[in-house]
């Protein structure tokens, strides 16, 4: 589904991604872990199409199409979803209006007509339950007045509504207590199918107890330096990121 070959990216002239290689197939859950500054956020930003990052080399193919050629909104319409680490508040833009506009633009891209109001409202009712946000969204602006946990749950709710093929969760677990974590993870697990895929970017192993990955990759200084299965995550938890640095022959300060 997603094929990343030798991806290099810089911001303000500084190279952050130094050659990423990654293959993701439908039905898979990939976890990307790494210490601070390793390039995790840069990777999700480049995949979602943020302007500030310059791709200097490599290619990214999504369902056979050149992803890097597409504008951010086109990537979303093609089926990529980014759950933000820090979802922004947008006072004055209603949750409902925002979602309806998004759904309709995605449908238009696929050659479908606008969603029927009743179908839309039923969908909202149903998907809200998934992340226990019932009643919290109506008459409210996007993320306005939401706690950190509620904002993250809203990201998963949107994912449920937009039904993407590839979802990138950018440190979704940061700032969450155990209850919120469980709700978010449960939501994601319910959305998993054999036709979609997830990239779970996380610093800590804890989330991966709940969202069990098929593959774990360690990102360090802009490169994927180690790949494995979920056991790798447990090993990292036990030994810390210093273990990786030692393996690479770096001296630990």
């Amino acid at each position: 589904m997603l094929s990343i070959k030798n991806l290099k990216a810089s911001v303000e002239g500084k190279e952050i991604l130094k050659g990423i290689n990654l293959e993701i197939k439908a039905g898979e859950v990939h976890a990307i872990m790494g210490p601070n500054g390793s390039g995790k956020s840069t990777l999700s930003a480049v995949l979602s199409g943020k302007d500030e990052f310059e791709v200097t080399a490599g290619e990214v193919t999504f369902e056979g199409k050149d992803l890097l050629e597409m504008q951010a909104e086109v990537r979303a319409r093609e089926g990529i979803f980014l759950a933000f680490q820090y979802p922004v508040e947008i006072p004055g833009v209603s949750n409902i209006n925002f979602l309806k506009t998004a759904i309709n633009e995605i449908r238009a891209h696929k050659g479908q007509g606008s969603i029927e109001p009743r179908e839309f409202l039923n969908m909202v009712k149903e998907k809200q339950k998934l992340v226990e946000l019932d009643g919290k969204l109506a008459n409210r602006s996007v993320n306005e007045g939401f706690s950190g946990g509620e904002k993250k749950r809203n990201e998963i709710f949107q994912m449920a509504m937009l039904q993407p093929k590839l979802a990138i969760l950018d440190e979704t677990d940061s700032g969450l207590d155990i209850d919120a974590l469980r709700i978010v993870a449960n939501g994601v697990n319910q959305l998993k199918t054999k036709d979609n895929a997830f990239v779970v970017i996380t610093h800590y192993q804890r989330l991966l107890d709940y969202i069990v990955p098929d593959f774990v990759h360690v990102l360090y200084k802009g490169r994927i330096v180690k790949s494995g299965t979920k056991e790798l995550a447990l090993e990292l938890e036990e030994k810390g990121y210093d273990w990786i640095k030692e393996e690479l022959g770096e001296t630990i300060a």
Binding site: A76, V88, P91
Partner: protein, 412 residues
Amino acid sequence: MDVITEVQKKIKSEKVVSFPNKKNEEYKYCDVEKVWNQGFLNDSNYSSEALNTLIENTRSNYLISNESVLFVVVNGSLRFDLSKNSENADFEFLDFNIALQKYPIHIESHFGKIANADSDPLVALNTAGFNEGLFLKIKKNAIIQDSITILNISISNQPINYNSRQLIIIEENAELTINELFVSDEPTKSFANNVTEVFVDQNAKVNFIRLQDEKTNSNLFCNLWVTTKKDSVFSDHLFTFSGSVVRNNTTIVLGDSNTEAHLNGLYLLQENQLVDNHTLVDHQMPNCYSNELYKGVMDDKSTAVFNGKIFVRKDAQKTNAYQSNRNILLSPNATINTKPQLEIYADDVKCSHGTSTGKLDETALFYLKSRGIGFENAQKLLLQAFVSEVYEKLPNQEFKSIIQNRIEQRFS
């Protein structure tokens, strides 16, 4: 000689008043003389079909039913024949000449008493030159539920200039909303100078909703002067959607203790439009509250000016005065000149002012895009959010919907 003729004579005999230009500090971004020099005649020329079409279109755009009270003024001329006057004994529209006979004391004690011909050349020119005046008096204790609209029309086949004049007296405890529309049709090239004096008596609650929607070649100069008495509340909601050059001078004199004023403004500009909003809130007495929120969206090569003055006089202790001007520039050639001016002479006051100018929030824009929403729809959503803060303050849902519709048209 009646007071009106007396005042007019006095102004004409004093000095020669000319249209302000860039050399006048208060008009440095709005060269009225330059507009005037484009050439405008005193006489209008239009067909009744064109006028009727304009009135019908306005009725449907602004949802004015046949049952509502509607007073029509065409090129400054009162058109009782086209109006639906009130059947409510609590208020009625009168020509100044009739009002002079029916309410001589009211005219004597109010006309020209707050619109200061000395302080502003546009007021002096209007006062000296107007022909017909519209008088509206709301009776003591009257709670008016009816919708009241004053429709000011500029229409002519040849470039026209005119003065229009209003005197509105709202007596003790009365409550009402007045809707004032300014419209013209596409071919009309006009220069309209309007002066409206409003006297808000003790404990009255008044909402003024002004919609400036004249077409591309119309120029509009509105001078609103309001004075309030004890315990009263006055709110002005000023929406400027179109017109070539629009200059609004809005002065609220809080002339008594315990009174409240709200000034809300929204201007949506495109092409080469110029909208200049000058406001003055004059806190003369203690314990008064004023809150000003003006917001604007400028596109293309349009220019907006905001100058908000707040005076807090020596006796105005315990004043609360707030002012905020927020602007969004959609194009690199759009301009905003914004300046708050606070003069505070009392020592126990709370005053604040703030202004911001910028583009649309990039983070919010990207968030919307990341959900598949294209730039056009994303911009629309964010602009609607930005402007909604102003029209959310309108006194009823009907007006909110009307404005929302007009804004949606404008952003399409």
